[in-house]
């Protein structure tokens, strides 16, 4: 299986995603420069974390207009797998492959730490190796990861089981009350409904703020992210 890791000017988790796929798992992976248009030979596209085009204007807002994005959209429309991690999730929302938006963290500060996530919904090609309600741990590292969508979209995501990852307490508790202004301590950025990752209708596109590529080896803190890549290989 061949992975394409898209490199925008300013991507900085491109090497980490490449390393996870190529060195940790041993699959074929190539960097794909943002000016390229031909993705025919790739099976899976990774939009990595970082600050594409400096994230000037708004995170992911300029990347959405890059030449390669048309091809990424076409790739996704064919039902082929696309995962956006962190800045990649922001790009997926900006280009309309996923609904909603990622706004500044409630704290107005960048936040880098390990968080607990609850696996909620099946149906994503990237998560078949997790079991429902499993609690996993992965790092986040973002300043704009506060998931926002209108009520209608949120209800649609909930009703159609498209919320894949939710921030949770170590015991798996993940409570959200729309009337409550108090954000639970385990929600690191203020995301509505504690949303950490969502999928598209067909399950071939996944966007998530936590970094699975940073959670692939025990020496660097944990391996819970590895199955994201393994799922899509075996899927």
């Amino acid at each position: 299986m061949k992975f394409g890791v898209v490199v925008f000017p300013g991507s900085n988790c491109d090497h980490d995603a490449y390393y996870a796929v190529r060195r940790v798992i041993g699959e074929d992976a190539r960097f794909v420069w943002h000016t390229e248009r031909d993705l025919e030979s790739y099976d899976v596209i990774i939009l990595p974390g970082g600050f594409s085009y400096g994230d000037y204007l708004r995170a992911g807002a300029i990347a959405r207009f890059s030449p390669i994005l048309e091809s990424v959209i076409a790739h996704a429309k064919k039902g082929k797998p696309v995962i956006g991690i962190c800045n990649g999730f922001q790009v997926l929302c900006e280009c309309g492959l996923l609904p909603g938006a990622l706004i500044r963290n409630r704290s107005l500060k960048f936040s880098c730490k390990w968080v607990n996530l609850r696996y909620e919904a099946t149906g994503s090609i990237f998560t078949e190796r997790y079991y429902v309600n499993e609690i996993v741990s992965m790092p986040i590292a973002h300043g704009e990861g506060n998931y926002f969508a209108d009520n209608e979209t949120l209800a649609m995501l909930e009703d159609t089981g498209r919320i894949v990852w939710r921030y949770c307490a170590p015991d798996g508790t993940s409570e959200w009350s729309s009337s409550d202004a108090e954000i639970p301590a385990y929600n690191p950025n203020g995301s509505l409904n504690n949303i950490a990752g969502i999928r598209n209708e067909f399950g071939n596109v996944l966007g998530m703020m936590p970094h699975p590529e940073r959670a692939c080896e025990s020496v660097t803190g944990g391996m819970d992210g590895l199955r994201i890549f393994e799922s899509v290989i075996n899927g």
Binding site: P9, G10, F51, G54, D55, K109, C112, R214, T220, G221
Partner: protein, 804 residues
């Protein structure tokens, strides 16, 4: 003075060179006379500017050079010593590490966000200029106090309004500096893996913002900042030149104006996105045939970068400023030569291959332009609009720049420091406990156990409490090299594809340096070494950032010279030479200088990344050993300084036993390699009690320790009286000591091996329970619920920074 009014080709007679003009370029009158004499003719305005920048303290180290020569710089491990963009040390297995520390104190005092951000940008460029991939950043920071004023302070301080304003400004500085580092480092994708953040009165108007970057490079692919081969082109790459940061080097070489905002135009603005492109492009071309040398345009921009490259190669460079990419209209030659616009590099390549380089940069949307040519004549020749506006022999602005042996004088305060009797600390501590209630509403109090109450106060001390609130704002994991735990004694970064990892620690106990600069500098080296040893790394070499006041003040100069002496001794004993660094003088406002702050950035190697030793307790029932010196002095300790405040200094810190440190290094690294050590933590700020507490935090395991074991002549006492030896046992920071966790079945073996190695150890208790418990000769000193202590430690800094 408006340079535009000048004909830049004009050779100005001494009468035409006003004092104001000299002040503006940063030359003293005698320095000007000397420059003119060495040149043998009158100087142009451009030449004046070049001399001013290159003879500034920041560029030519005129007050420090003489003394820096005393530092050890050689060793089998050193591939590149001082004098390059960064030093390089061999890690083995075909990997070398390039590293360098620098200060950005002055810009950060004026504009904390951009000041700190451009500091990061500059130090990263220094590392990739060597062809090394930047893999980690560290930021040692020092600020004035941020804690709310206590009733005691309100009674002591004369101008309360002013103090309140200063503390508010300090919180603004902290937040600005931290966001600036986060902004630049996070965006460019180099993890910030550690550093320090400390608070002390002496930094109220002069914060210390030091930045350190490490990168890895194949020893065969090291690039150097050198120019060679007459006729070879000089390429300019990166951002266009503008008027920002003109004379930043000169700015960094004078005391700050009282109102720091006046100096704002001397601060540059950074663009991490742009630098990310420059970084990737430069690392690509570093591997290309035909590259001769590469250099960052840092302080004194185009001037220093080109003349340093030429000087290293024994050649000259002729530059045509009309070709320099310019961001503003009508830039003068003077402005172009002295601009410190960010994100710019200079390259020399072989003639005929320049188009290959220009093409390679184009892929990254970067313009590379030929701005000059290498010439045999060892001069810097600058042309603008077809005429020569400056021509200076290289040596005059490099090795023949002024070097001063400035006068020194023992500071008055030093002779006034009294011997610290432990009983004084007991009296002061008792008084503090009685008179100064400890934020009673926010934190729990332990009135019946003085040591417990003092421990809680230390855990809430801004210098000791958890730095999580700051650290989480930095991306410390990008590049997936950082090996947790992230808050250990030293940061550990693996090298992908290799078995080994590198470790790094930055340290400087500046209070101790104030009390005794020589001993303080030794402490700084020892502490850095202890930290590396605690994670299982063998110390290899250092980079240093020497932050001091005004060197023209003989008392400051004395501090500097003494610090170098102490540092040399400690570095020699440990065989950890200096590979480069930075001197930052003039950290002084209105004759109020910072504590001597010689920050040590020490690099070490772990033979096996998987065997990194953590500082967290691993299992209930394991034994806790105290290992190392038996010096229990309280002089210079956080506790003594906290309870005594300013009334009596804090005594004479004791000289560390360097031979013992070397013995301990070898013994601990050996026992770690044998897998005998479960966890290890260096006894540093706050002493043994804080160290044990930190080993407990996050694990759920408390501890029960008998702390009198290594102390001599301990009497058995009863009653509730607080005694000197109690404080010494749990709060002394002297000597080189560690707490080490050993499984019970290995305890006997560990102790006997230590004795064989000539090292004092003491089985002082065990891991477990839910209390932090310390007894002295059987008498309970302190017993605090672990969760209460942990809460105090975790939340203190956030409380000070956010809820003030």
């Amino acid at each position: 003075m408006n340079q535009r009014a000048f004909d830049e080709t004009l050779h100005l007679s001494p009468d035409a060179v006003s004092d104001e003009m000299l002040a503006r370029v940063g030359l003293a009158r005698d320095e000007y006379d000397r420059a003119r004499e060495m040149m043998g003719r009158d100087l142009t305005i451009v030449e004046l500017g070049i001399f001013g920048a290159m003879w500034s303290e920041h560029c030519c180290y005129k007050s420090s050079r003489l003394h820096l020569k005393k530092l050890p710089t050689k060793g089998a491990q050193v591939l590149q010593g001082p004098g390059e963009n960064a030093g390089i040390v061999d890690l083995g297995e075909g990997t070398a590490v390039a590293f360098k520390i620098e200060s950005h104190n002055h810009p950060s005092a004026v504009e904390p966000f951009q000041g700190a951000a451009t500091g990061i940008g500059g130090i990263i460029r220094d590392v990739f200029a060597m062809g090394a991939r930047p893999i980690a950043l560290m930021d040692p920071l020092r600020f004035g106090p941020i804690t709310p004023l206590t009733a005691h302070e309100e009674a002591e301080i004369d101008d309360l309004d002013d103090e309140v304003k200063t503390r508010a400004r300090t919180r603004y500085l902290v937040s600005g500096v931290v966001s600036g580092i986060a902004h630049y480092g996070n965006c460019i994708g180099v993890p910030t893996v550690g550093g320090e953040i400390m608070f002390d009165d002496s930094y109220s108007t002069n914060p210390i913002v030091n930045v350190l970057c490490l990168g890895t490079v194949n020893p065969d692919e090291i690039v150097r900042g050198i120019a060679r081969g007459s006729g070879n082109p000089v390429l300019y790459v990166g951002a266009k030149t503008g008027r920002d940061g003109i004379q930043g080097a000169t700015f960094a070489s004078v005391n700050l104006a009282e109102d720091a905002s006046i100096d704002r135009p001397a601060v540059q603005v950074g663009d991490p996105f742009y630098e990310k492109l420059l970084l990737e492009a430069c690392l690509e071309i570093a591997k290309m045939d035909g590259l001769i040398g590469m250099q960052d345009m840092g302080a004194a921009g185009l001037t220093s970068s080109t003349c340093e490259m030429a000087a290293r190669g024994g050649v000259g460079i002729e530059m045509d400023l009309d070709k320099v990419p310019q961001r503003a209209d009508d830039l003068t030659a003077y402005e172009m030569m002295l601009s410190e616009s960010q994100e710019r590099m200079v390259l020399t390549v072989e003639r005929g291959r320049e188009s290959e380089f220009i093409e390679a940069f184009k892929k990254w949307d970067l313009d590379a332009v030929e701005v000059g040519v290498v010439i045999d004549d060892p001069v810097m020749r600058i042309k603008h609009k077809g005429v020569v506006v400056a021509e200076i022999p290289n040596n005059l602005i490099t090795e023949d720049a002024p070097e001063y042996d400035r006068p020194t004088k023992v500071p008055e305060y030093i002779s006034a420091i009294a011997e610290l009797h432990p009983e004084d600390v007991v009296r002061a501590a008792t008084r503090v406990l009685e008179e100064r209630p400890f934020h009673a509403d926010t934190f729990p109090s332990q009135p019946n156990q003085p040591c417990a109450d003092l421990l809680l106060r230390l855990l809430a001390h801004p210098n000791i409490s958890s730095k999580r609130i700051v650290f989480e704002q930095y991306d410390h994991m990008v590049r997936t090299g950082t090996i947790p735990p992230y808050d250990g004694d030293a940061a550990v970064v693996r090298i992908k594809g290799k078995k080994h990892a590198l470790a790094i620690s930055t340290d400087c106990p500046s209070k101790v340096c104030y009390l005794d600069p020589e001993v303080g500098a030794m402490w700084a080296v020892c502490e850095a070494a202890r930290n590396l040893i605690a994670v299982g790394a063998r110390p290899l070499a250092i980079t240093n950032c020497l932050n001091f006041g005004n060197p023209e003040d003989p008392e400051v100069m004395w501090q500097f010279v003494k610090s170098i002496d102490g540092m040399s001794k400690a570095l020699g004993a440990l065989d950890t030479p200096v590979t480069g660094g930075n001197v930052s003088f003039y950290n002084e406002t209105m004759r109020f200088a910072v504590n001597p702050t010689p920050v040590i950035g020490m690099v070490g190697v772990l033979p096996d990344a998987e065997k990194r030793v953590s500082q967290s307790f691993r299992a209930s029932g394991n034994r806790i050993f105290i290992v190392g010196d038996t010096d229990y002095s309280l002089a210079g300790s956080t506790l003594a300084c906290y309870v005594l405040q300013h009334e009596a200094g804090c005594g004479h810190p004791s000289r560390p036993d360097l031979e013992m440190l070397v013995l301990c290094r070898d013994f601990l690294l050996k026992t770690m390699a044998d897998g005998m050590i479960e966890s290890c933590h260096d006894i540093g700020d706050g002493g043994l009690a804080v160290t044990a507490a930190e080993m407990s935090f996050g694990t759920g395991f408390g501890c029960e320790m008998e702390v009198s074991g290594m102390m001599e002549n301990v009497e058995s006492v009863s009653g509730t009286e607080l005694r000197a030896e109690h404080l010494m046992s749990v709060f002394s920071e002297a000597g080189n000591r560690w707490l080490v966790e050993i499984a019970p079945e290995n305890a006997e073996k560990f102790a006997s091996q230590a004795r064989k190695a000539g090292i004092e150890v003491c089985d002082a208790g065990k891991v477990g329970g839910d209390m932090l418990g310390f007894t002295f000769n059987g008498r309970e000193l302190c017993s605090i619920p672990l969760d209460a202590a942990e809460k105090v430690w975790r939340n203190a800094l956030e409380t000070y920074l956010e809820n003030a």
